[in-house]
Amino acid sequence: MTESDDTTEIRTDGGTGIVPPDDETPDWTERKERSRGLSRLTYEYFERSRREDQDLRQESDYVERDVLGFPTWPHETIRNLAITSFFVGIIILVAAALPPEFMDPANPNSTPAIILPDWYLYWSFGLLKLNPINPELAVLGGEKVLSDQFYGVAAHGVIFGILALVPFLNKGSARRPVEQPFWSAVGVAGVVLSFTLAALAIQNFFPFELKLLLTLTFTLPIVAAILTYAVLKTMREGYMYDLNKRYYRLRPPK
């Protein structure tokens, strides 16, 4: 018994002073994420207010209960049933109001003039249509060494390679786009590129030259990225101002 006489606190750590981490303890990643830049500033503001609330709570004699969620039955179940009924109702309503036409049965012996994948794969289909920018390595007889089809598949390799690299380049410490304008711009460029590639896949729908469409496919993402970067960079000051204003409105200086 090495415990001193004046303390009545029960020691559960064996007297070593080493306490196992609980949910409140930030782990290594969280410490690292909050150690730099605007995300650190944000964290410090909210942490300071949280700490002040905690002190106030400990001073008061009001008994708090921890409510972690609502019970599955009946609360969650009835809510989910209501949402499900709403969407099923919309589906039935639309199906009844605009009944689908019954066309001729598909003829498996003839390929349609326009073939397209489902809409969410248009970007991938667009990558297969980059023929004009593929390098033309021609040898004897003018036959291409590497076919357009090969370049189309290789373009997928480039896209997936960049996607796989992103988590290694940016750890995702920002909670809001304004905290990291550059990476937000990269994300916006990616989203816009997926849309422009999809537009390239359905090129017949656009009433202008294919060359222009191909140019837009790769310039629009860059333009969108520059715009995003400029806007977010401009918003940073206002964001910090708002944080400060909110903090001092809730807790006016004494």
Partner: protein, 89 residues
């Protein structure tokens, strides 16, 4: 502000659904062709057709103007009023 977003969004969705129905009935000769919901409507056969064709326009503009009002015009007016109040103080 979140309420203003929800109002505009709800109005837009109601307008979109109504436009989809009426334009699907009167402005879509076939769902297999490229131009849908925007084709010129046929000459109305009766009062019901005329009302429905008018309703397709009505719902379309509800879909466009509803969110424009709640997301752009009302916040802009509010900001304008606030900046005026700040300037006069």
């Amino acid at each position: 502000m979140a309420d203003e977003f929800m109002k505009g969004f709800a109005i837009s969705m109601v307008g979109a659904l109504g436009w989809f129905f009426f334009a699907g009935w009167y402005r879509t000769p076939s769902f297999e062709q490229i131009q849908q919901l925007t084709v010129e409507p046929p000459e109305p056969n009766g009062i019901y057709d005329a009302v429905a064709i008018f309703a397709s326009d009505l719902f379309f503009w509800l879909m466009v103007l509803g969110p424009l009002t709640f997301w752009v015009i009302i916040p802009a007016l509010r900001e304008l009023r606030r900046s005026r109040a700040d300037a006069s103080n």
